[in-house]
Symmetry: C2
DNA sequence: TTGTAGGCGTTATCAC
DNA sequence: GTGATAACGCCTACAA
C-alpha cells in the first residue's frame, strides 16, 4: 500500500496524499478527510525507507557495545534509547566483542545504513583501529564514546575519572586503617582498566607494600573474582583490604573470603566498582564506586542529538565518581 | 559517493559498478580491478537504504522488550542479535514499557521501517492490543514471542512451562519435608505471572494451608522482595519455604530473612526463578528454576529466519524448565 | 562485456 | 488547492 494506491482510491494525486500524511497545509479540508478515511481503512503506513532515501536521513542512531549482556552497558543503552525514541530515532544495537576487526566491521555496517550518529559504550572503543574507521567512514556524523575518547573533530568523549576513583577507594580504606590493600582487575587491557590500575599503583605508594606485587588480573566472572581472591589470600595472608575493578569480581571475591572463613569487613574490607545491583545483593552488601554510567550515557545521547541539530558542546568532559558506602568496608 | 560517482571516475556505467559491488559475474576482470581500486580509494560504501528500497527488503529485525535493563530480556536479545548479524540483519531494539498503547506504537514504528521479522521478549506481549496491531499491520512478517503466544498464522510462540515449573519447585520443597510454603510474585499481572501463580495454587493444594492466603504480590525490586518477605514472616511465622517468581525478589527476601535472623535453609528454604547471576551471587546461593530463556531466544530468532527463508516450523512449542539446586534449599 | 531505461515509495518544486 | 515531474541511490531486465 503506497501513496499512489491511496491516491487512486481517493481519486486524487499522490502529492495530495503526501501532504495529508505529513500534515502539511494547502489541501482542502474535505479532500483531507476523504484521504484520511481511506488511509485508515487500508491502514496505510508510510515507508520509512523510501522516506529516508529522499530526505537523506535515516533517523537511526547506532549503539556499539562490546557485550549487551553486561548490565553496565545495557543500562546506558536504555537511557540512550529513551532519549532518542521521542525524537523519531531508532537505535541499532550491535555487539562488537573486543576484537578490533569486529569493531571496525560494526562501524562499516552502521555506515552503510547511514546512521546519523553513534554512541559507543565503553573504553574498548578508544583504540587506533576505531579511530581510523571513524575518520575514514564516519567523519561527518557525531560519535560519542562513553568512558573513552578519540582526538577527532566529530568525536565526543564522556569520561569518568577512573584513576581518581580507584585512588579514592584506596584512600578510603587507608582512612579506615587498612594498610595491606590489594587490587584485582578484569583482564581486557583497555584504557579504562589501565586507568584503574594506575590509580591503584599511584595511591598505593603511600602503603608499606610493593603495589605491583599486590595488583592482580583475572577474568570478568564470578569465578574469576573467586580464584584471584584465593590467590591474594595465599600470597599475602596479611591482606586487609581489596579493591575490585568491577562489582561482579567483588561478589566472587566475597564468596572466596566466606569460603576461607575470613570475616568481611572485620579482617578484610572490600570495595567494588559500578555500584550495580550486584553490590546491593551481596551479603554483606558491597561498598562500591558509582562511576556515573547513567549520567554519562544520557550525556552521550544528548551530545549526539545536539550535534545533529547544530548545537555545540565540548569534545571532552569528565564526570566525577562517588563512593557509595555499604557493609563491606 | 554513489555508484554514479564511482562510474564516472572509472569511465564506466553505473551498472558495471553495481555488478562489482555485488560480486556478480559478467564484467571484465580488468574493469573490475579498476573499479575496485577506485571504490577503495574513495572508500565507497553502498547505501543500505537505497538498496532496501529497490530490493524491498530492509534486512532489519525488530526486537521488542518491556525494559532492556532487565537482564533476563537482554540475555535473549544478545543471542538473537548474534544469530542474525551473520545473515546481514540488524536489530532495532525498542523498549516498550508495559502500557498497551506504547506496545502498539512500537509495532507501528517497526512496521514503518518495514522490518522483516519481530521478536518480542516476554509474556506481556501476549495481549489483545498487540494481537490486533499485528494482524492489522504486520500480518505478513514473522513474529516470534518468547514466553508468550497469540493465535495468528504468522506468530510463533516459544513458551516455557512456568506453571509446571513452579509446581515442581513446590514439590521439591515438599520432598524436603516443607509444608508451609509461600509464594511471592512480582506485580504485573501478565500471562507468565498468572501461570506461575496458578502453578503454585494448584500444587499447594496438597499442603495443610489455604494457598490463597500464602500467595503474595510485590514490586519487582530488591526492596519489593524484602518487604513482601517481612510480611510473610509476620502473617505466617511458621513458614518453612518460599518460592519467588524472580531471582531478584528472592535476593531481597534473603536479606529480609537475614535481618530477622531466620536461618536459610534450616528454618526457611527458598527458591528463585530465572537462574540468573543474582542466584549465584547470593549467600547462601539460590536454588533457582532455569526456565530456558536462552534456548527460547535462540529458537525465536531461528523461527523468524526460517519463516523468511520459507522453512516451516510449528507455531507453538514449549520448553521444560530445570531446577538448579544450590544452597538455599 | 557493457550500457540504457525503468522503477522501488517518498518528498519537493514547479506549474496550473 | 491541486497535480505532474524530477530527484534520492540502487538494482535488474533488456538492448547493444
Amino acid at each position: 500500500m503506497t501513496i499512489y494506491d491511496i491516491a487512486k482510491l481517493a481519486g486524487v494525486s499522490a502529492s495530495s496524499v503526501s501532504r495529508v500524511v505529513n500534515q502539511k497545509p494547502g489541501v482542502n479540508p474535505e479532500t483531507r478527510q476523504k484521504i484520511l478515511k481511506i488511509m485508515e481503512k487500508n491502514n496505510y503506513s508510510p515507508n520509512a525507507i523510501a522516506r529516508g532515501l529522499v530526505s537523506q536521513s535515516s533517523k537511526t542512531i547506532g549503539i556499539l557495545v562490546a557485550d549487551i549482556r553486561n548490565i553496565h552497558h545495557t543500562d546506558g543503552a536504555y537511557y540512550i534509547e529513551k532519549e532518542l525514541i521521542g525524537l523519531g530515532y531508532c537505535c541499532i544495537i550491535l555487539n562488537t566483542g573486543d576484537r578490533d576487526e569486529d569493531k571496525v566491521h560494526a562501524i562499516d555496517i552502521l555506515n552503510r545504513r547511514r546512521v546519523e550518529g553513534v554512541v559507543m559504550m565503553g573504553s574498548i572503543f578508544q583504540c587506533d583501529a576505531v579511530k581510523e574507521a571513524i575518520s575514514q567512514q564516519m567523519s561527518d556524523v557525531p560519535v560519542a564514546i562513553v568512558n573513552g575518547w578519540l582526538d577527532l573533530p566529530n568525536v565526543y568523549g564522556i569520561l569518568s575519572d577512573e584513576q581518581g576513583g580507584v585512588a579514592s577507594c584506596v584512600k578510603y580504606l587507608m582512612a579506615k586503617g587498612r594498610r595491606k590493600i590489594a587490587f584485582i582487575c578484569d583482564k581486557p587491557y583497555n584504557p579504562s582498566n589501565r586507568l584503574k590500575e594506575s590509580g591503584y599503583l599511584q595511591s598505593a605508594r603511600d602503603l608499606s607494600i610493593t603495589p605491583a606485587e599486590w595488583s592482580y588480573r583475572t577474568e570478568n566472572t564470578l569465578e574469576g573474582g573467586y580464584e584471584a581472591t584465593l590467590q591474594v589470600l595465599k600470597e599475602h595472608p596479611d591482606v586487609d583490604g581489596i579493591v575490585y575493578a568491577v562489582d561482579l569480581l567483588a561478589a566472587g571475591g566475597l564468596q572466596a573470603l566466606h569460603a576461607q572463613k575470613v570475616p568481611v569487613p572485620e579482617q578484610v574490607a572490600i570495595i567494588g566498582i559500578n555500584n550495580s545491583t550486584y553490590a546491593q545483593i551481596c551479603s554483606p552488601s558491597l561498598t562500591s564506586l558509582d562511576n556515573k554510567r547513567m549520567e554519562a550515557s544520557v550525556m552521550a545521547a544528548r551530545f549526539v542529538i545536539d550535534h545533529i541539530s547544530g548545537k555545540k558542546n565540548p569534545n571532552r568532559m569528565m564526570l566525577l565518581p562517588d563512593l557509595v558506602v555499604r557493609q563491606s568496608t
